[in-house]
């Protein structure tokens, strides 16, 4: 049960199973299969990107990961920054100094970086500066669903939304040029179904490196703000003219269709297929908008004149929908009254990701056409079989995951304490602590660093009679990302809570990227370690380090800390990630087995407490034997389950 992201990781890893070099070694002009994140990297390399910085987050992580591993071959500097804001600042600085630079992040990451984004738009940069935001419609690997495109409108920043693999690569290249022309940042929006899709791209030329020294040519300050803001608006008008010269934005279809689908990004791929499947090529046109901020004026005017009915298809918010409606209102004296369908009218759902079927349904309703690929009888039968036979496959912690052990100890300490402690959650693998896999331990889940932030508030409610103990968990990477300010706040304001850092040595959730506590960097070079224990102690918080695989010690330490009535205390629960081994974090691997004489299965008063409650995939209830067994293919030998069997039937043998 090894996560499939490992394949991605290995492909990116020079020491791993799969090569990375194909992206730069194949001949110019050759057509190859790449993931869209690889297409973004190739596009950036073809545009001679020289500097890249990012913080990992699905579905964006592979972009910087790949640039880091290719860095020495292509003369790029790449870093995993401490968080997205610092990443964006570092990349922007390189662009100010004259190097083409790129930063990439998931939608939440842009929230973190947005403060800087909404200032650097005013100061501008010198060389091309491209911000790739990989959105996650449907929250496939996110804690929220939100539309990052509003930042483009808020900051009056050009925004491109490519459709398809080749166009993605070309638009990344083009984004560098536009950025350089206007001297400001350009945003590219990808999505899960883009970044984690694969397809054909034709390789363009990789330009050779040019020599030349960098120089600091001017100041980059937002003031005077009025003049900077005016200049920014002028730039956006300039972009609106520029985009008309390219074919990324285009109309496809008949001259006078009954309806036009207005769409962008993945929406175009679904819309194109839906129109094809419904046989509507001669009745429906498609207006593919690739530059969704600013929406092209001339082309849109022409398209508006072709028909009176428009269906807008896009993922997450009605961003393009509101954009074209507003434009149609502005142009109403020229184009007349138009009717728009989309999220506002309920033709397209406002929640979740899109697919071709959603577009088919919308078109069926609007154009009175029929489409049923399967008989109702067949669908009914298959759905019944699926309901009867297919068990749910819940996500869970990997066998040997230290988080399972930590949550077990937390629950036990909470029970011993008996005051119904509140435990705040954070973002990472351990977010599964909200699910049965983590014993539903976590009672809050928001954004990076917010567990400790919330604990700051909860830890100050004593004067209002709230005397419940407060705990917050954070991962190691999240600690560096945004928990440190919350900890500083807690010390200074004397907030009363326990911060538990789940230190497994890597940014595990996104594929084991290094963080400031790691001894390597994105380019696989040795790097200085920022010691989290020293950081906490320097701030003034007492720290205890524990090994979660030792349930007794960990439970005792948590319990004892809960009895201290005041101040912030830190526990570092340190144990290596079960998937990504790291030097210096090796643990004893036991050869586990169950003593079948001692295990009395369901006859035990515990009702197979171990499998029912501990929920490690390596522990299996054998119905025929009526006893518990170890699945040797899955067991990692952490030995934690041996500590929970009251009959001592689970044995830790020497490995």
């Amino acid at each position: 049960m090894i996560p499939c992201c490992r394949v991605f990781y290995l492909r990116q890893n020079k020491r791993g199973q799969v090569k990375v070099s194909f992206l730069i070694e194949e001949e110019t002009g050759k057509e190859i299969l790449v993931s869209d994140n690889e297409a973004i990297v190739r596009g950036a390399l073809e545009a001679l990107v020289r500097f890249a910085a990012a913080y990992p987050g699905s579905p964006s992580s592979e972009i910087l990961g790949l640039l880091g591993r290719l860095a020495s071959d292509v003369g790029v500097y790449a870093e995993w920054s401490v968080n997205e804001k610092v990443a964006m600042e570092a990349a922007a600085a390189a662009a100010m100094a004259g190097l083409r630079s790129l930063t990439a992040m998931k939608q939440n990451g842009l929230n973190v970086a947005s403060d800087f984004l909404l200032n650097v738009n005013l100061t501008g940069v010198t060389a091309g500066f491209v911000v790739v935001v990989c959105d996650d419609p449907g929250a496939i690997s996110s804690g929220n669903e939100q539309d990052p495109r509003w930042f483009a409108r808020m900051g009056q920043i050009p925004l491109f939304e490519p459709s398809g693999h080749q166009e993605l690569k070309e638009m990344v290249k083009w984004a560098f040029e536009i950025s350089e022309l206007i001297g400001g940042p350009v945003l590219i929006r990808s999505s899960t179904r883009t970044s984690h899709a694969q397809g054909n791209i034709k390789l363009g030329e990789l330009p050779g490196l040019t020599n030349g020294s960098l120089e600091w040519r001017r100041s980059f300050v937002t003031m005077p703000v009025g003049s900077s803001h005016r200049k920014l608006l002028d730039k956006l008008r300039e972009v609106r003219e520029l985009v008309e010269k390219y074919s990324f934005d285009r109309y496809e279809g008949p001259d006078s269709p009954e309806l036009i689908v207005v769409t962008c990004g993945t929406g175009y791929l679904y819309a194109d297929e839906a129109v094809e499947l419904l046989g509507l090529r001669d009745r429906v046109g498609i207006y593919k908008v690739a530059t969704t901020n600013p929406i092209p004026l001339k082309l849109s005017t022409e398209v508006f004149k072709k028909t009176n009915r428009f269906l807008v298809i896009e993922e997450v918010d009605p961003f393009l929908e509101e954009g074209v409606k507003s434009l149609a209102a502005e142009l109403s004296s020229k184009i007349g009254v138009k009717e728009f369908y989309g999220k506002a009218t309920g033709h397209i759902p406002s929640v979740g990701e899109l697919n071709t079927d959603i577009v088919i349904e919308a078109l069926k309703g609007l154009l009175d056409v029929e489409y049923s690929p399967r008989s109702q009888d067949y669908v009914g039968r298959v759905e019944k079989y699926v309901a009867d036979f297919v068990p749910a496959r819940d996500v869970t912690f990997c066998p040997g995951c230290p988080h399972r052990a930590t949550f077990w100890a937390l629950q036990k300490a909470k029970l011993m304490d008996g005051r119904n402690a509140v435990i705040c959650g954070d973002i990472g693998c351990y977010s599964l602590g909200v699910l049965p896999a983590g014993y539903q331990t976590l009672q809050t889940l928001h954004c990076m660093g917010s567990g400790a932030g919330l604990a700051n508030g909860l830890g100050k409610l004593g004067q209002f009679g709230f005397d419940t103990p407060v705990l917050a968990v954070t991962g190691d990477s999240t600690f560096y990302h945004s928990v440190i300010p919350a900890l500083v706040n807690a010390v200074h304001n004397e907030a009363n809570f326990i911060l538990i850092i789940l230190d497994n040595g890597v940014t595990a959730m996104t594929g084991a990227q290094p963080h400031p506590g790691s001894n390597t960097n994105a380019m696989e070079q040795e790097a200085p370690v920022v010691d989290m224990v020293k950081v906490c102690e320097a701030v003034g918080a007492p720290v205890k380090v524990t090994d979660p695989f030792n349930l007794g010690d960990t439970t005792r330490i948590v319990y004892e800390m809960m009895q201290i009535p005041k101040g912030v205390r830190v526990i570092v629960a340190r144990q290596a990630c079960a998937l990504y081994k790291q030097k210096g974090m090796e643990f004893t691997r036991y050869k586990m087995h169950v003593d079948l004489d001692k295990c009395i299965g369901k006859e035990c008063g515990c009702d197979v407490f171990c499998v029912r409650n501990f929920k490690c995939p390596g522990l299996v209830f054998n119905k025929k034997l009526g006893k518990v067994q170890i699945d040797e293919a899955l067991c990692s030998g952490c030995g934690v389950c041996a500590q929970i069997c009251s009959r001592g039937a689970i044995i830790r043998g020497v490995g």
């Binding site: 991605f8 299969l33 690997s141 054909n200």
Partner: protein, 208 residues
């Protein structure tokens, strides 16, 4: 037996860790080398940790299609795990679907902890036979274990797909893609796994 559709929709359904991604990448790489336009859509992310993982392959001579199938349009389902084959027949299957299924179950955590039931493999086979046009069963995990590592399972299943004879691919294409994409470790064993899967499906086809 399998429609010569364009796009041809091939789904690989399995569980996180079964090498779903590498399998789809290898198939796609082989086909792109033959001049096909291939789009692959995958579900990654939180579903990794023990969850169901599926890849959509859209294979065309004309263009790159969207990264998901329209409902009920899977022409071929490669089930790396038997329950996952059935799960995906729900939204994606039709009476025209051909399935190639590994018979070795990977039981969900809810089953292992005794809260859910996993169907009897014979019942599962019967249902799959009823709702597909044709289904081929392969003891892929057994073969992989015999070769020394469970990770060869996906290579057996790629062989099974090629054994259907609907794609213009053979073991040489597989070898080229494998060597080009990976560091080529255990090449002989991977080839043997591929050959086994191809052989099983060929043999079962000839019995029709």
């Amino acid at each position: 037996m399998v429609p010569q559709a364009d796009p041809l929709n091939v789904m690989i359904a399995g569980v996180g860790g079964q090498g779903n991604l590498l399998a789809s990448r290898l198939i796609g790489t082989m086909l792109v080398a033959k001049g096909f336009k291939v789009t692959i859509g995958e579900t990654l992310g939180a579903t990794q940790r023990g969850g169901a993982v599926h890849s959509f392959l859209r294979i065309s001579k004309k263009k790159n299609y969207s990264p998901q199938f329209p409902g009920g349009s899977a022409h071929i389902i490669i089930g790396l795990e038997p329950v996952e084959a059935l799960r995906n027949m729900g939204p994606h299957g039709s009476p025209e679907t051909v399935a190639v299924v590994n018979v070795r179950p990977i039981k969900p955590i809810g089953v292992m902890s005794g809260n859910l039931d996993y169907p009897e493999i014979e019942d599962l086979k019967q249902v799959l036979k009823e709702i597909t046009k044709r289904v081929f069963f392969i003891d892929a995990t057994e073969k992989a274990l015999e070769l020394g590592k469970p990770v060869f399972t996906n290579m057996v299943m790629i062989g099974g797909l090629v054994g259907l004879g609907v794609l213009p691919l053979d073991i040489n294409d597989f070898q080229t893609a494998f060597v080009g994409l990976t560091k080529g470790s255990d090449l002989e064993l991977n080839l043997e796994a591929f050959q086994y899967g191809e052989g099983v499906v060929r043999q079962q086809s000839s019995l029709e």
